[in-house]
């Protein structure tokens, strides 16, 4: 156990987490960012999957919040720790707006897509504590696949925003992700799906 973080050595990968999510996300919009863009399309590539790339790093959570506020639809944002650290104030904003937004925070301690440099505070930052202190009422932390698999339904069962701290293994040498299709096409697909009343 790493006492500073409250986590043992990570026992799950980013892909493990996303595989569970793909089976449980139902009809929620999933906004992927940075490293998640390289993994998520292989697991789910529907019009409700929005690869936020090209992006402005750190803006995935605000974008997801706006989308949830505009539509009232469940939105899941897949954020890295480096991205969230660029925009920690967004946790306060999320806490103050009762939107159906779920933030999945993938904490690998690395800027993975730039080659694996350590993020500020790697190994010490208590992201769940930050989210709670920001005022988010539903905060979860998972560091292994069995507990994440067992807990994911509770994450999605509650009302209002939720924050999920997921400790995952850092991976080195990954290719810079690319979006599965041009942004204009993604936006057209997403808007079409949001307007479609069929399940």
């Amino acid at each position: 156990m790493n006492a500073a973080r409250g986590f043992a050595r990570p026992a799950m990968t980013h892909r493990d987490v996303l595989t569970v999510l793909a089976a449980r996300r139902a009809d929620r919009v999933v906004v992927s960012t940075m490293g998640s863009v390289g993994l998520w399309p292989a697991l789910s590539d529907t019009p409700l999957d929005f690869a936020y790339l090209p992006s402005s790093m750190g803006q995935g959570v605000p974008l997801g919040l706006g989308l949830a506020l505009a539509t009232g639809r469940g939105v899941v944002v897949l954020s890295g720790d480096g991205s969230l650290l660029m925009n920690l104030g967004c946790l306060v904003t999320v806490a103050n707006h009762p939107a159906p937004l779920t933030v999945l925070l993938f904490d690998n301690g690395l800027y993975e897509v730039t080659g694996g440099q350590a993020v500020a505070g790697a190994g010490r930052t208590d992201f769940a504590g930050l989210a709670r202190a920001a005022g988010i009422a539903r905060v979860y932390a998972f560091a292994d696949l069995p507990t994440w698999t067992a807990g994911v339904d509770e994450v999605f069962a509650g009302a209002g925003p939720a924050f999920v701290w997921l400790k995952v293994e850092g991976e080195y040498g990954k290719k810079t992700p690319t979006a599965p299709r041009p942004m204009a096409e993604q936006i057209t697909r997403l808007r079409g799906a949001l307007l479609d009343p069929s399940p």
Binding site: S56, Q59, L63, G66, N96
Partner: protein
């Protein structure tokens, strides 16, 4: 009701994503009370533009209201929303010290940079003088109707 807020409502905006300055701040009560506008309070201006982008993706018509100093901070978010996502972002930017600057009565450098920054990010803008209700109303109407990203600069 506060007149600028009435004009923002009439133009068809649905949300105001807002970080006040001393000129925009007095609009708070009217923004909060508006039955037609949802007021969103982010913590930083770049974040405000991210929220606005999500609102637009979801079919809403947000107006981001901020001071020019926040515009300077929000550069990468602005670039992304306007030039990567190609969303018709609408900005209302208070230009701190503009009037005094024009009179040579202020050393505030904000007015010197606001228009060049918008030019650099290729965002067209209209400058409205303070306390000109008619000009403000027309400019907000034009801002809302424009099919592309635009800014309204409010001289302070």
């Amino acid at each position: 009701m506060n007149t600028p807020v009435r004009h923002i409502e009439a133009a068809g905006f649905t949300h105001v994503v807002w970080i006040p300055d001393s000129t925009l701040g007095p609009w708070e009560a009217a923004l909060s009370a508006s039955p037609n506008l949802q007021l969103i309070r982010p913590c930083r201006e770049g974040e405000a533009l991210g929220v606005a982008a999500g609102l637009m993706l979801g079919g809403a018509r947000p107006l981001a209201v901020l001071q020019c100093t926040g515009l300077f901070e929000a550069g990468d978010a602005l670039r992304n929303v306007v030039h990567d996502l190609h969303l018709p972002l609408k900005l209302l930017v208070g230009v701190r010290g503009y009037v005094a600057h024009r009179k040579g009565q202020s050393n505030d450098n904000c007015p010197a940079f606001t228009e060049p920054v918008l030019d650099a990010w290729r965002v067209p803008y209209t400058l409205v003088p303070p306390d000109d209700d008619g000009a403000f109303a027309a400019a907000v109407r034009d801002l809302a109707a424009a099919p592309d990203a635009r800014a309204l600069l409010l001289a302070e």
